[in-house]
């Protein structure tokens, strides 16, 4: 029974990805493109040379973190739609610290990263508090917090960090995650040390959830609030804690962008989508740390590789968005896949 479930847990995402690619191929065919060429271009765009590989890793880094942010809250039965806002506040806070503080790297860089995580955690704290104390649904609050984050950040960039400019100055060298070593390995892509932080975060998430009493409580609250209360756990505290940790992961993702990829922050006309993609990553990764890393790599590769498709195969980049949407669709309708697998098995017998 259990091993069966585990098998499904692995099979469903894999089949979903394959189905997504197959349907994507059909769409390419129907629009008069050669799917094989399209996918070769996609592959080359993502892994073709050292530069694209570096860029793929760069794209993957924040996706791992936002995936963790969504999955972590989900373990406690909470749906964190607010990863987007948490990314934004993490980003601006990290950049802010990177700009205004003057300190040696050994202090400055960790401080900036930590500031991003704390800001994200704070952005998660508020919905958690409202949920725990007043029962306000976290989906609504986190969505609203996204907008608050977006517009106040834009205003901070315009009026506080700059004088009516649209982009902040570049952060101090001492706060930068940029890695000349990694860059030289990848023909000067924007890959940075953040990837190690993201992987470390995945390990931390796994350890926290699977091996500590915190994780035991968080999951128990997620599974059954009443039994957790009966067993003497503080349900409200766990809800808040879960949202704070989730927010911190997303805040880190923002810090990666601010301190690693861009080194600054610009006024945004819309969301970064990192947080929303995190929902997809968490879903595809089965809310499990390793799964999330793999899913983030897939999404990072798809998104990076898409850039190569119009030039090499004449396929518009939007096709990748369609494929991603299809994959999510198939994962979400995993019930159908499960049913199909069971059906298949039955007939084999």
């Amino acid at each position: 029974m259990t091993s069966n479930n585990k098998l499904f847990g692995i099979l469903v995402p894999i089949i979903s990805v394959l189905l997504g690619l197959i349907v994507g191929a059909l769409i390419m065919l129907s629009s008069g493109n050669n799917p094989l060429e399209g996918y070769v271009a996609l592959w080359n765009g993502a892994f073709g040379d050292a530069y694209t590989l570096g860029e793929t890793i760069r794209r993957t880094t924040p996706l791992i973190l936002t995936g963790l942010a969504v999955a972590f809250a989900f373990k406690t039965g909470l749906f964190n739609i607010g990863a987007e806002g948490q990314v934004i506040v993490g980003w601006i806070t990290a950049v802010w610290v990177g700009l205004v503080i003057d300190a040696p790297m050994i202090i400055h860089l960790p401080l900036a990263i930590l500031a991003g995580a704390i800001a994200g955690g704070l952005w998660g704290f508020l919905p958690g508090l409202l949920k725990a104390k007043l029962g306000v649904h976290e989906v609504i609050v986190t969505i609203m917090m996204n907008y608050i984050a977006l517009y106040s950040t834009n205003e901070i960039i315009r009026s506080v960090l700059t004088d009516q400019q649209t982009t902040t100055d570049t952060i101090a060298e001492t706060a930068s995650l940029a890695s000349p070593w990694l860059q030289s390995l990848t023909f000067y892509s924007r890959v940075h040390y953040g990837v190690f932080i993201a992987l470390l975060a995945a390990v931390i998430m796994w350890f926290l959830v699977e091996r500590t009493t915190y994780g035991y409580e968080l999951k128990a609250v997620g599974f059954n609030r009443h039994a957790s209360n009966y067993a003497g756990m503080n349900v409200g505290k766990n809800i808040i804690l879960s949202m704070v940790i989730a927010g911190a992961f997303a805040g880190l993702a923002g810090a990666m962008e601010g301190l690693g990829t861009y080194g600054n922050m610009s006024v945004m006309s819309g969301f970064t989508n990192l947080g929303f993609d995190g929902i997809a990553v968490a879903l595809l990764g089965g809310n499990n740390a390793l799964g999330i890393v793999l899913a983030a790599i897939l999404f990072g590769a798809l998104k990076e590789g898409a850039g190569e498709m119009p030039t090499a195969a004449g396929v518009p980049t939007e096709l990748v968005d369609i494929i991603i949407a299809l994959i999510i669709f198939f994962v979400a309708s995993s019930y159908i896949i499960r049913w199909a697998i069971l059906r298949f098995k039955k007939e084999e017998k």
Partner: protein, 504 residues
């Protein structure tokens, strides 16, 4: 002659079970939980298709592929969980899905009302066709369900554990109704694991055990003990063996306790109660008289508005559940799925639900799964929890085994006060016997046991003292040997009369 015959060997859920119902008889279908009673009835009702075997109605082979066909054949089911629309009237509920139409295609509710009234009078159901479902008692709602099947022309009525939700008085009324139904030529299949009811009202009894048909016996030629051993497959003792209680010091002392329910209305109203070490105090009462809130207040799950709860002379009112647990209270909750277990956790993880943060199960916040599962294994062995392994999810276990795991967990902490709220609800005689023995064993070890149950048999059998709860207060404390079900039933209904006229 109505003659339903059904055989279907093959699949495990129901293995070669034959059940023959004669016209005008009450036929009991007896079996432990998970024995396959419901499966069998679902086959008869057209919800499942049998792999083998056949169903015959009046000697003719029929193929029941959905519940509508069953209805047309005159088979009706009174479900354990009522399927009624609360804001609708009795009449509206009964005609639902089979509304009589007048010539304009409108629902002819007056005609339906008249028919229902007639049916109700004929079988002595005393149902008011205009009452709203939300306004009438559970017993009445059940009669509406019966009427629903009769209105649809049922000749064979299947009752699925009908007495589980009723008070003793309502049960005896229901049994009368069943008798009058068969007098009018209806036939009844009664699914139950309550042996007393079978003895009282049934003509014949078919026993199934683990999906296999054990046989059919004439009730007049058998007795409770034989039925029980047929059902369980071994000797069963109904009377829990116990020595005289030797109560010691007071462990739990409740004074003038007030507790509000979810609607912020007082539901426990000035309750006093004492439980001493080495005794079992049973709380008898009809559901909804404040028993659940009392227990939630003692265990810290609900706030106490006023009054005091003392455990070993220490005030525990309004402490957190964890503090109360640490002070020595074990709690077997009424709803084991909602409170007792995290169903998606393994049985091992559930065993340490209150102790996971202590050594040796965790050190510096890091869990030690080896110790956790070792502990779980020892409890599983000691309390005979049947599970494939300690890693199996709690959800996958049967109700009885889930309950045994909870009881093992609670008793293992050796609490001074053990609260058992309906510990045997929905369990079969084998598991009930086991649980009762464990409670008595704890008592003999000098623990105080507080038992809440809606089953009078259980209260009478296990308790050393019975506290009758009515309207948020303890209205009487009696010894089981000095009372009887009749008197308790009256006390539970709020009557102060010792042995007076039947209420209602």
């Amino acid at each position: 002659m109505l003659n339903i015959r059904k055989e279907f060997p093959g699949i495990v859920a129901n293995d070669n079970i034959t059940l023959q119902l004669k016209k005008g008889e009450i036929h009991a279908l007896l079996g432990e939980n998970g024995a396959g009673k419901s499966t069998l009835m679902n086959v008869l009702f057209g919800l499942y298709q049998p792999e083998q075997g056949e169903i015959r109605v009046k000697g003719k082979k029929v193929n029941i592929t959905n519940p509508n066909i069953a209805n047309d054949l005159g088979i009706g089911m009174v479900h354990q969980h009522f399927m009624l629309v609360e804001p609708f009237t009795v009449t509206q509920n009964i005609v639902l899905g089979k509304e009589p139409k007048n010539k304009f295609g409108m629902i002819d509710i007056q005609k339906a009302r008249k028919e229902i009234k007639e049916l109700s009078d004929r079988y002595g159901l005393k149902v008011d066709p205009d009452a709203k479902i939300s306004d009438i008692s559970v017993g009445m709602q059940q009669r509406v369900e019966i009427l629903k099947t009769l209105y649809r022309g049922a000749e064979v009525l299947i009752f699925d554990e009908p007495t589980a939700v009723l008070t003793p008085q309502e049960i005896s009324e229901l049994l009368d109704i069943m008798r009058s139904l068969v007098k009018e030529g209806k036939s009844i299949i009664l699914i139950t694991h309550k042996l007393k009811e079978i003895m009282e009202v049934c003509d014949r009894c078919t026993v199934i055990r683990k999906g296999k048909g054990i046989g059919t016996v004439n009730v007049s030629e058998t007795n409770v003990n034989e039925l029980a051993s047929l059902m369980v497959g071994r000797e069963v003792h109904f009377k829990t063996e116990k020595k005289e209680a030797r109560p010691g010091k007071t462990v739990l002392k409740i004074d003038d306790l007030y507790v509000k329910d979810k609607r912020k209305v007082d539901i426990v109203k000035g309750l006093d109660l004492e439980v001493r070490a080495g005794e079992i105090v049973g709380i008898a009462g009809v559901d909804g008289n404040g028993q659940s809130e009392l227990i939630e207040a003692i265990t810290g799950l609900t706030k106490v508005s006023s009054g005091s709860i003392k455990l070993n002379d220490k005030e525990i009112a309004n402490l957190s559940p964890r503090k109360i647990t640490e002070n020595g209270v074990g709690h077997i909750p009424q709803d084991r799925h909602k409170f007792g277990l995290v169903l998606d956790y393994s049985i091992g993880e559930n065993i340490v639900l209150q102790t996971y943060y202590k050594k040796p199960y965790s050190k510096a916040k890091v869990l030690n799964y080896k110790e956790i599962f070792r502990k779980a294994q020892s409890i599983i062995d000691e309390y005979d929890v049947r599970t494939p392994s300690v890693y199996t999810k709690a959800r996958a276990l049967s109700g009885g085994n889930q309950q045994k795991a909870i009881i093992g967990r609670e008793i293992d902490r050796s609490p001074d006060l053990l609260i058992a709220a309906q510990p045997t609800r929905g369990l079969d005689v084998g598991a009930i016997e086991f649980i009762h023995n464990k409670l008595v064993e704890e008592r003999d070890k000098g623990r105080a046991v507080l038992l809440v149950s809606f089953e009078l048999d259980e209260i009478m059998d296990v308790s050393d003292r019975i506290a009758v709860m009515f309207d948020g207060k303890i209205v009487a404390i009696v010894k089981p040997e000095d009372t009887n079900e009749q008197e308790l039933g009256l006390l539970m209904a709020g009557s102060q009369v010792k042995a007076g006229e039947q209420s209602q």
